[in-house]
Symmetry: C2
Subunit: 211 residues, 2 copies
């Protein structure tokens, strides 16, 4: 089983690392970080770079595709090599997944047409404009497409898919090994739970966050 | 304010990225990934490398130190340059923090002597052997030392310290921006909650995990 985690300039690190540390612990799986070119790929904040080990062309048929999101104008804007690769790789994948605005890339590639899916809460309307049917759930499975909500939700997505593929015991081993017993010091992780002024503040900057 | 996230061969990616995506969003802070040498630093699973942008020597006086953990024989085994740097940098830091077995490095550097601290649940005894007073809490603050439990707990640690430094509103903005509204598909994230056979399985491999 081969898992390809897609990197591109401006990706969000936790979007990639959440599924990596959970789903990536699938027994006998090979995880590869892929990008248009090998070498360092810089994230949204510019102060962290992951090494892409292989090019998209090197990994044409992964069993599982993981697409992280990122703020700002995503490569989805242009119908470039990443979207072309996504369409081709998706044709033979067993699972095609995304975290955060990674679902906008899947949708821009035409893969979520009419499908239930999710994204960062600020991006649900844009996801709809791309032809998907957004839901407010944290992890959405529609056929082989598994999409997760904002940034940190990739951990929940990774564990969910891990359990589906490798069984509940293995997913629980990974949950315990990574001590994923969340205890956030605040209860502000969704627009339904956060204080109104915090939600409004982020909404008023949505154009910057998602521009 | 300068935040130094320490990388070393065999670190666990999520240990570093949890605090990075939360605490790293401190207003007007500069986050730098540091290691003994600049360039790619490979993680525990060997299939992911982060770029260290500066050497330890380049960053002698960070305001906040973040030390991720990693399985296997940590560099703590030898009293090398990392421990020397930790002692020197800690002398002027405002906060010295760790995730997972990163606390074993702090303890090996002599920084947690007699202090309440935590670590990965499988490493609490070893933490005690290094002179700290382990607690079962997910995030422990003792003076300027903030230690977190296993792997994923760095997110909770990052948000906790972010709130302490920048205020509750800012921490909640970051929680909502990263949509940290955890919904794990299982309730197996701590040895108290996981099924007994899962806990025993991991305990029986503790020598491999922590060796």
């Amino acid at each position: 089983m081969q898992i390809a985690i897609v990197l591109y300039d401006g990706f969000t690190a936790l979007d990639a690392v959440g599924p990596y540390e959970t789903l990536g612990r699938l027994p006998d799986a090979e995880t590869v970080f892929v990008a248009e070119e090998t070498g360092p790929v810089r994230n949204d904040s510019r102060n962290l770079a992951f090494l892409a080990e292989r090019t998209l062309a090197d990994v044409p048929n992964p069993d599982i595709i993981v697409v992280p999101g990122g703020p700002g104008p995503l490569p989805s804007a242009a119908d470039g090599p990443l979207l072309t690769w996504l369409r081709t790789a998706d044709a033979t994948s067993t699972w095609t997944t995304s975290v955060c605005t990674g679902s906008l890339l899947l949708a821009a590639a035409g893969l979520l047409q009419g499908r239930r899916a999710t994204s960062h809460w600020l991006a649900l309307e844009e996801l709809k404009r791309h032809g998907a049917e957004p839901t407010g759930e944290r992890v959405v499975t529609d056929g082989k497409y598994v999409t997760a909500a904002g940034v940190s939700s990739g951990i929940d997505m990774g564990l969910t898919l891990l359990g589906r593929i490798a069984g509940d015991d293995h997913a629980q081993i990974v949950q315990l090994a990574t001590e994923y017993d969340p205890q956030p010091p605040y209860d502000a992780g969704s627009p339904e739970k956060a204080p109104t002024h915090i939600v409004e503040l982020l909404r008023s900057h949505a154009d910057v966050i998602l521009a």
